[in-house]
């Protein structure tokens, strides 16, 4: 047993680090350091810088612009990216629709979409959830009816993150009502500019516009935009579960918040003592650090193990990473908000986006802490709520 990276891996880490240090535009880095939200343009800019370097989609096969890094290096890459701190690549593109197209798409679809998906020339959103179909996703009702060489789509999606930025949506639609609900679902790619498709914003509790409702009123989608076979969409959607083994715990992001909390607490005085030196604060942070270290090593165990697993095989332990990872994300946002004190409650949305022209009322770093705390509550809801994750673990790992 050895915790250390090999010298080759260390060399790789240093190379990645050096690249992030020079390639990440200063304005984006500054936003990230302050915990600010990055704009659509920032995400696109960064993705294209990565793509030019050949690092936009490291987990994809080399022929589609990926790398042959394998799990350990991919893990190092993702951690370093979060610690840089650089914006997350758009997961809808990089970790969702891309891998599904690679596994199940037609040659024509791959050729058309994959390069654009990697370069973020096309921004995808995920149209899965509906008002009546959240945790019970298979009960979805948005219907696609075949008419000649088109599908006619009617229905509604909800909680569609960043649909207002998206050029395309990968969407689960009902193409059959026979058999089990899972059996009549298809995976359809829909251009968001198609007539009959309307996007309405829904504001989240951080006061921002993250997600939307999307309405389909006789939206005509070319039949060639179906991925794989009709009525097999559920399998394709599920393919991603447990497949993403690397980096879902988001240790790097949690570490970065802890680094910030410690540094910033040094500047907050409790009487004559910096907050960072009060035993209570130190112990509280240290106890998060303990859990974070444990999870980091769990993550590394999963990574090390995945070298041995057949490619594409799911590792059930990865749901543990998501479960504990989201709890720690949330705990780190709580600590930062506490450090900010009463300042956290001042609402200055322009500072959240780094577009303010006037100085903030409190220290600038405090302006993002509450929004981060509020929005990160969603981490235990989306992508399969933590309750659902536990159900899955109980069933698949514990076999209860």
């Amino acid at each position: 047993m050895d915790l250390r990276f090999t010298s080759d891996e260390i060399k790789f880490r240093d190379e990645v680090r050096a690249f992030f240090r020079t390639a990440l535009p200063a304005s984006i880095r500054r936003k990230m350091e302050l915990g600010q939200r990055v704009s659509k343009e920032d995400t696109v800019t960064w993705q294209r810088i990565l793509n030019a370097k050949g690092w936009a989609v490291p987990s994809w096969p080399v022929e589609w612009g990926g790398t042959d890094w394998g799990p350990v290096k991919t893990y190092i890459f993702k951690e370093e990216m979060q610690l840089a701190p650089a914006p997350d690549p758009l997961s809808f593109n990089v970790s969702m629709v891309g891998p599904v197209l690679i596994a199940f798409g037609s040659e024509a679809q791959k050729k058309h979409f994959l390069p654009k998906v990697a370069n973020l020339d096309i921004w995808f959103c995920q149209g899965f959830s509906e008002p009546g179909a959240g945790s019970d996703l298979a009960s979805l009702r948005t219907a696609a009816k075949r008419e000649g060489d088109h599908y006619i789509v009617n229905g509604q999606k909800i909680w569609t993150s960043r649909a207002h930025h998206a050029d395309w949506m990968f969407c689960l639609v009902r193409t059959s009502s026979e058999g089990k609900p899972q059996q009549g679902i298809s995976y359809l790619l829909i251009d968001t500019k198609t007539p009959g498709l309307t996007i309405r914003p829904i504001h989240t509790i951080d006061g921002e516009h993250h997600f939307n409702e999307v309405f389909f009123d006789n939206v005509r989608v070319p039949a060639e935009n179906i991925v794989g076979e009709e009525n097999r969409g559920w399998t394709y959607a599920k393919y991603l579960l447990g497949h993403e083994r690397v980096g879902i715990a988001r240790i790097g992001a949690a570490k970065h918040r802890i680094q910030r909390a410690k540094a910033l607490a040094a500047g907050v005085m409790i009487g004559d003592t910096p907050l960072s030196e009060t035993p209570r604060f130190r112990e509280k942070v240290a106890s998060i650090e303990v859990e974070l270290k444990a999870l980091e090593i769990t993550q590394m165990r999963v990574v090390a193990n995945s070298v041995r697993l057949p490619k594409g095989a799911a590792d059930p332990t990865s749901s543990i990473l998501k479960l504990k990872g989201t709890e720690l994300q949330q705990a780190t946002t709580e600590i930062l908000m506490e450090v900010a004190g009463a300042n956290a409650m001042i609402r200055e949305p322009e500072h959240l986006w780094g577009t303010a022209t006037e100085p903030s009322i409190g220290p600038e770093w405090t302006t993002t802490t509450a929004a981060d705390y509020f929005y990160t509550r969603a981490a235990s809801i989306y992508g399969g709520s933590n309750e659902i994750q536990k159900n899955v673990i109980a069933k698949r790992i514990l076999e209860l």
Partner: protein
């Protein structure tokens, strides 16, 4: 031992609960929020009519004249306000500002101010926190210097609840001593429009309003120094008492917010269907709802404790009780706030639905007059609630 309300208190509770149920629906609240000062003047007048704005004051000052300053009645009102997530400056004007004048003002000051609070024509705010003070009420850098016929106040206050709409601002300022010494602090009634006062108003995360207030050599007449001008540098015990009153009131408000959030969530668990059944039929969610209930009842008990101890003649006992209640209230508030959102799934994350607003208000309460750690440390420093013994 008696945890029941008397007839009069029951009537008060019924009428305030009714008012909030009728006039403070989630939709109505949204329209109040859009008003220029961020709350409803009409509701404010309604409170005045019902006697709520004079609740802690003597009859001769337009108040109701409860023997104990209306601690129980304040709790009743604040709990209802918590349920409605009301936006009006009740805490700032009646509990904090009114409390200071009522308990620390001269007769002349009481006569001049309290009746106007009671009839709704005057709003107050209490400016005590500063950028560096971090929950320490004695940490006051703002200065008050003797001037020919009064005082000159200079400094900067922040987090002034409803400082945006206050007609008068009560400012804590240092007359003598080091920045954090307990002695040497005075309280001054400053006209919000006085020369040298500049306010920067802002919205807080929970949709309330507050202000940062700069005071540049603001002239205050001698008789606007709160209390007797002979010894104005002894204000800290008064500030602490009124802060405790406010914390007891906020514990009740938090209780109202938590219990309403709990009820909304139970209703959701009963009606939201997934996998063909109400999600409330899943045992894990049932248990979570029970955890919320346990946490809620702990908070209720401590809100009662705060109310019954807030007028304790021994300031140490009072302080311990208030800190203990505050710690419980914060913990319950955090747990319940997070869980009610979680139990709602996606809709819990939206501004369009009320559950998230309870979460945000409960979060904002966490840093009001000292965060959880501040009160935990204060309680521990004072020896806790149970004495050592073998």
């Amino acid at each position: 031992m008696d945890f029941d309300f008397n007839d009069e208190q029951r009537m008060l509770k019924e009428s305030v609960d009714q008012l909030i149920a009728d006039r403070y629906t989630f939709e109505q609240r949204k329209t109040y929020m859009k008003d220029g000062s961020g709350f409803s003047r009409e509701m404010w007048n309604q409170y005045a009519e019902m006697g709520l704005l004079g609740l802690p004051f003597d009859e001769k000052y337009g108040g109701v004249g409860y023997a104990d300053g209306g601690a129980v009645e304040t709790m009743i009102v604040m709990e209802a306000f918590g349920r409605g997530l009301t936006l009006e400056p009740y805490l700032a004007t009646v509990v904090l500002g009114g409390g200071l004048v009522n308990l620390g003002g001269t007769d002349a000051q009481r006569e001049a101010i309290l009746p106007k609070i009671a009839d709704g024509s005057l709003m107050l705010a209490f400016a005590y926190e500063e950028a560096q003070s971090r929950y320490n009420l004695a940490d006051v850098a703002t200065t008050a210097k003797r001037d020919a016929d009064g005082w000159l106040i200079t400094g900067e206050k922040n987090f002034v609840m409803h400082g945006n709409c206050a007609d008068k601002i009560i400012v804590s300022a240092r007359i003598s001593g080091d920045r954090t010494s307990r002695d040497g602090i005075g309280l001054f009634l400053v006209d919000a429009k006085a020369p040298g006062v500049s306010r920067k108003s802002y919205e807080t995360q929970d949709g309330q309003r507050a202000a940062q207030i700069k005071l540049s050599g603001v002239k205050v007449r001698s008789n606007d120094a709160l209390g007797n001008d002979g010894d104005p540098g002894k204000a800290l015990p008064l500030i602490e008492k009124v802060a405790d009153n406010a914390l007891a009131a906020v514990a009740a408000e938090g209780l109202g917010a938590m219990s309403a959030a709990h009820e909304v969530t139970l209703e959701y668990l009963r009606t939201r269907k997934q996998f063909g059944v109400a999600i409330g039929s899943f045992q894990v969610l049932q248990h979570r709802a029970v955890d919320v209930l346990v946490s809620l009842e702990q908070a209720r008990s401590m809100a009662y404790f705060a109310t019954m101890m807030v007028n304790d003649p021994d300031p140490v006992e009072r302080g311990k009780a208030i800190s203990a209640a505050t710690v419980q209230m914060r913990r319950s508030g955090k747990f319940i706030g997070q869980q009610v959102v979680q139990l709602h799934g996606g809709i819990g994350m939206t501004l369009e639905y009320k559950i998230g607003h309870y979460f945000k208000r409960l979060t904002a309460m966490e840093s009001l007059l000292g965060d959880t750690d501040h009160h935990l440390a204060a309680l521990a420093r004072a020896g806790g609630l149970i004495e050592a013994g073998v």
